[in-house]
Symmetry: C2
């Protein structure tokens, strides 16, 4: 059974920085699935599987094509009931949707102000005009004006992560005793920051850092190999 994941990449094909692709990669690893990953620069997304998709990740699983990281997680849960669960209950699916909405609305803007300009500089030169235009339309300002950098956003990042810190004060994982897709949503968002910026600009004693380090070690260190160091 061929399982293929189209995974966003930078000019260096080994730089995999999409938060949504990371969510899918964690979910696949959680289910014990080792996909063939296809490094996909922005400009190649429209060519995926005949042109049916506008975003990555895209999973091709035994002939079925699924876009969107959350849909991929639900698909894996439905098709691999014997492997460890990604959710455990429908209540967690709904809570995970809350987390997905929180990440987009309240975490990604803060991370974006740190890394949008660096991302622009690390992607295919041919994709930079598209990237600039689409992001400047989204944020309503130039990339240069939107990007404030890690020093300026340090406090905002710590503040944005307060709910996660509150949960991790009492639980080893956001999923409780072991990681669930709820963890992978936030780990994916932070992998976006980590792969581009090279570190998480958080206080050394922040429990979020400890949890993130444990996240890097999951599934044979899947995410640990992906620091930006090698990519730059």
């Amino acid at each position: 059974m061929v399982v293929r994941l189209y995974d966003l990449c930078g000019r260096d094909r080994d730089l995999r920085f999409s938060p949504y692709c990371w969510r899918a990669r964690f979910a696949l690893a959680h289910k014990g699935v080792v996909p063939e990953t296809v490094p996909t620069p922005f400009g190649a997304i429209r060519e995926i599987e005949g042109g049916a998709f506008r975003t990555v990740p895209v999973l091709v699983d035994n002939g079925e094509r699924i876009g969107d990281s959350f849909e991929i997680a639900l698909h894996l849960e439905a098709t691999r009931p014997g492997a460890p669960t990604l959710f455990g209950s429908e209540g967690i699916v709904a809570a995970a949707r809350f987390l997905e909405g929180w990440a987009v609305a309240h975490l990604h803007p803060v991370i974006g102000r740190i890394i949008i300009m660096p991302i622009h500089d690390l992607i295919d030169v041919a994709d930079q005009a598209y990237f600039r235009q689409s992001r400047e339309a989204r944020y309503g300002v130039t990339l240069e004006a939107f990007t404030t950098g890690a020093d300026a956003e340090r406090e905002a990042l710590a503040r944005a992560l307060a709910p996660l810190r509150h949960a991790l004060a009492r639980h080893e994982w956001l999923g409780g005793p072991s990681p669930l897709f709820t963890d992978y949503i936030v780990l994916g968002s932070l992998m976006w920051l980590y792969t581009i910026h090279g570190e998480l600009p958080l206080a050394p004693d922040d429990p979020v850092l400890n949890w993130f380090e444990r996240g890097l070690d999951l599934h044979g260190g899947l995410a640990r190999q992906a620091t930006s160091a090698g990519a730059r």
Copy 2:
């Protein structure tokens, strides 16, 4: 078996506005427990059960005393395993902690800017000095400067609730097919706003409003009776 809940009240003893007390009341009703509620103004909190508590809610359950709304929910879950679950899995407990942290860090400040001054005006005159001093210390400005009102906060409130709206686009409840403590956390926060302000300043077609209305109807309309109309 005597079950008693100390519940924050205003100068009008029927005005019950604490978000944390509402979480506890929803959780008790969810478990089919009808407590004797003791209306407790701020000034009487230190007299509860011999003075062991500094905040409400406080639950006295068959001789055991439990403070803190989340601890009360965990206690009810542990002592009433036969009644409908408030969580369903440890993963939901952890996700609910995330929601608890999110409400305090990101939702309550917005609601506070709408209702802190009105709360001041609705509590016992004898409690107003304490209330002003403690809240002004917390926010670092006078109540008058902190309060901006519903019109000014309308957009911020809609934006703060984006993660909830995202989940409710796909699920009837934050708990999935039926309400869980995750719902009661956010319902409690919004009851704080609703009981003091008399309505939720959201667009009429906001799915959050529909969910909130269904929340008011839960458990025999427990929360619907508590509009501020009667209390003012």
